[in-house]
């Protein structure tokens, strides 16, 4: 038990689990997907950020508690704590409405809060619950942490070294609440419960909605009373730490209002607030959702710690490297920009799962000009970091046109000018995926081209599939590759406008004869046939299927 001055601090450290879930097993490549620490972050930096995080939490909790004077009031703040990052999950208040106590020594109370957050909460992973009990002239504080349960979707895992949402932004965000509550009136002498919901996305309040209003005591009649300003202000202060969370979600806030017939104004308080979670983007499995969220958190953290530096970091990575982030962003926030006539290809392509979706997007982006790619990056970064509302009318139109162009491109045959970059990308990707072949492919480069099993010429017949998908690529010795190309050329002459099914059938026929030569750089080929014989059999198969290949 720790006691300080006028503040009674009951440190009921009923710690059921005190281990640390922080992993140090390396980052997920050049972008962070949730393992270890992001590039550029060391333990010292993390510690500084955790200190800033604790200081903000102290200020936010005291902003609420400092205005609560009723003896017996009990305030409970439940945070998710990880690596020193603190995200408020729930707030509950009880015992309100009683007699006001004597003034509190706020410095002593703040000291106690600092001790709790810096010495205890910062070290824990999992839920930490801070309970403040108002006494006659001080606060008793009870703290406990529990075994980590499933991390809430909105929880941060990296502390952020920033000042928090600027005051002007906060005021603008709660204007909506004030407008909403102006429409609510309380019967004179009565009491009511009001339920409002703030729609949040990362640190933005996107809107407010009145979810319920119930008169719990009718009163004696008379001039209805407005919701007092003090309740608006308390709701804003309660909401403030929730806003530090991640992703789309809502915060449900319960207000209690009461009017005593002998009082000029109504009174009231916030009785509770809790997160209402949104579904993750469709098309992603749990692992992909976790990776997307980690990537998004790191980007948001960089942006919060320095907007300019954050955007510079994004620009250096480029859209190809951050494809997963853009895929997640389009899936989560893209509906308004994908309302293209006959559309749906982009959504279908991006709902194929993490790797396929990111690969498809990377390939499609190679078809855009440099300026279009930069616009894609700039506009989607803005949507993801500042929200769709931050787009100007012009930017909204530009993004809509860009998405329509991608949709259209997917259905359009590749031009010859577009094929070289896609082949370059295929070569790079193949070498990354097959490091055991990369050396030979590099030293004797011209001998080992990368073959597209389903040719680029027919990519538009499979618009939601990635023509550079690993399954479609195979390194083949150059003379064998020439034989395959000759077969495709004959197919083209026989079927100038083939269907997707015909292309699939031809692919299968050619693969069936040449797959023994795929993915081999040197060494014996496990085939009893020569490439010449394989070509002959494949030609017979194609001739049998389609005719006209003589």
């Amino acid at each position: 038990m720790t006691r300080s001055f006028a503040t009674t601090v009951l440190l009921a450290l009923s710690v059921l689990w005190v281990g640390c879930a922080t992993t140090q097993d390396g980052s997920g490549g050049t972008v962070w997907v949730g393992k270890g620490l992001p590039a550029g972050i060391d333990e010292a930096t993390l510690e500084q950020a955790a200190d800033a995080e604790a200081a903000r939490a102290v200020a936010q909790v005291w902003a609420v508690a400092g205005d609560v004077h009723e003896v017996g009031a009990r305030l409970a703040f439940t945070f998710w704590s990880e690596r020193g990052a603190l995200t408020l999950e729930a707030y509950e208040a009880s015992g309100r409405g009683g007699t006001a106590g004597r003034p509190v020594d706020s410095d002593a109370a703040l000291d106690s809060l600092r001790t709790l957050f810096e010495a205890y909460a910062k070290q824990r992973t999992g839920e930490v619950r801070l309970v403040l009990l108002r006494q006659e002239s001080g606060w008793a504080m009870d703290y406990e942490s529990s075994r980590p349960t499933r991390r809430p979707l909105e929880a941060k895992t990296l502390p952020v070294r920033w000042e928090g949402t600027p005051t002007a932004t906060r005021e603008a965000q709660t204007d909506g609440l004030a407008r909403l509550l102006r429409a609510v009136s309380l019967p004179a002498g009565g009491a009511a419960r009001v339920e409002v919901e703030a729609r949040l996305d990362d640190g933005r309040v996107e809107g407010w909605e009145l979810k319920g209003f119930q008169v719990t005591r009718s009163g004696a009649g008379g001039e209805p009373r407005a919701v007092p300003e003090a309740v608006h202000a308390e709701a804003e202060k309660v909401l403030r730490p929730f806003v530090e969370g991640l992703g789309p979600r809502a915060v449900r806030v319960d207000l209690v209002l009461a009017h005593r017939e002998d009082a000029a104004r109504a009174g009231g308080w916030v009785e509770g607030a809790r997160v209402v979670r949104a579904s993750p983007p469709p098309g992603f499995d749990a692992d992909a959702v976790a990776e997307y969220r980690a990537l998004h958190e790191d980007i948001l953290r960089r942006w919060r710690e320095g907007v300019h530096e954050g955007f510079a970091w994004l620009a250096q990575r480029g859209v190809e490297e951050l494809a997963l982030w853009y895929v997640g962003g389009v899936l989560a926030k893209g509906a308004g920009f994908l309302a293209v006539r006959g559309g749906g290809i982009v959504l279908k392509a991006l709902r194929q799962g993490r790797e396929a979706a990111a690969g498809w997007l990377r390939t499609m982006l190679t078809r855009l000009s440099g300026g279009e790619k930069r616009a894609f990056e700039r506009l989607w970064a803005k949507v993801q970091l500042e929200g769709e509302k931050a787009l100007s009318a012009g930017e909204r139109q530009e993004l809509r046109a860009l998405m329509a162009r991608i949709e259209q491109l997917a259905k359009t045959p590749l031009k010859s000018t577009e094929k070289d970059p896609i082949r370059e990308q295929a070569r790079k990707l193949y070498k990354e995926l097959n490091p055991h072949l990369a050396q030979a492919m590099t030293t004797n480069a011209e001998k080992w081209p990368v073959h597209h099993r389903r040719p680029l010429q027919y990519a538009h017949l499979f618009p939601d599939e990635n023509i550079n998908a690993p399954v479609n690529l195979a390194v083949v010795e150059v003379s064998t590759h020439r034989r395959i190309n000759v077969l495709w050329d004959r197919f083209r002459r026989a079927r100038p406008q083939p269907t997707a099914d015909e292309v699939l059938k031809a692919t299968e026929a050619i693969d069936s004869q040449f797959k023994a030569w795929y993915h081999r750089v040197g060494g014996a080929v496990p085939s009893t046939r020569t490439p010449e014989e394989a070509e002959k059999v494949a030609l017979e198969l194609l001739q049998g299927f389609f005719g006209g290949l003589d």
Partner: protein
């Protein structure tokens, strides 16, 4: 017939050096081929003969885009082998015979001279052949050395391009995105205008691109 100077090749080496691009050059054989000597049934282009009198094989700027000139020295005659192999393959798709002498690393893109279009001294124009899908060719230089010159200027523009760091060679693909560089080659433009490459330019986008070369030339 003696060998000629190669100012374009010298410029290409200088550009690679200046831009810090990779250069891999093998020494020539002791008995390099003579100009117009028969190779795979075709008289050897005099500029290529000059090249092989100085160099056995070159791979240049493979870290940016990449140009490979096949190996011919005392031990290996890649020119002979490649041309014989290619004639059995995609060359049958062309009515005009080509003589392949190089390409791009790891891509089935080749550089070839066109023997039927040689000038009175035996110098042949150069095309870039894309053998993926249905083979087609694009005219890219009036001589082999002119290719080296044009390619050196392409590398300068590529490396200076704002998207080069992010996109590599895709930022400015050769020769599709640089018709203005090809338009510097008056003899090439003349041949294109006369339709001398039409039989090779079977790609649906090729004629439009050739029009861009002609337009760029007329603006000079």
């Amino acid at each position: 017939m003696g060998t000629s100077a190669l100012p374009g090749f010298d410029r290409l080496l200088e550009v690679c050096e200046r831009l810090g691009l990779q250069q891999s050059v093998l020494p020539p054989g002791r008995h390099p081929p003579e100009p117009l000597a028969p190779f795979a049934g075709t008289p050897l282009d005099p500029a290529l003969a000059s090249f092989y009198s100085r160099v056995g094989k070159a791979i240049l700027a493979a870290d940016a885009d990449g140009l490979v000139i096949f190996q011919v020295d005392d031990g290996i005659n890649q020119l002979e082998a490649e041309n014989n192999a290619l004639r059995a393959g995609w060359q049958g798709g062309f009515f005009v015979p080509l003589f392949v002498f190089g390409g791009r690393p790891l891509l089935a893109h080749y550089f070839a001279t066109v023997p039927d279009l040689s000038d009175p001294s035996g110098f042949q124009p150069v095309v870039r052949v894309d053998t993926y899908e249905r083979p087609y060719a694009l005219p890219i230089a009036s001589t082999v050395d002119r290719l080296f010159d044009t390619y050196s200027r392409y590398l300068e523009e590529l490396v200076a391009h704002e998207d080069f760091d992010a996109d590599g060679a895709a930022a400015l693909s050769f020769p599709w995105k640089v018709p203005h560089l090809l338009a510097r080659d008056d003899r090439l433009v003349e041949l294109i205008r006369e339709g001398r490459f039409d039989a090779l330019m079977t790609d649906p986008d090729a004629q439009a691109w050739a029009g861009e070369v002609l337009n760029a030339h007329s603006r000079r």
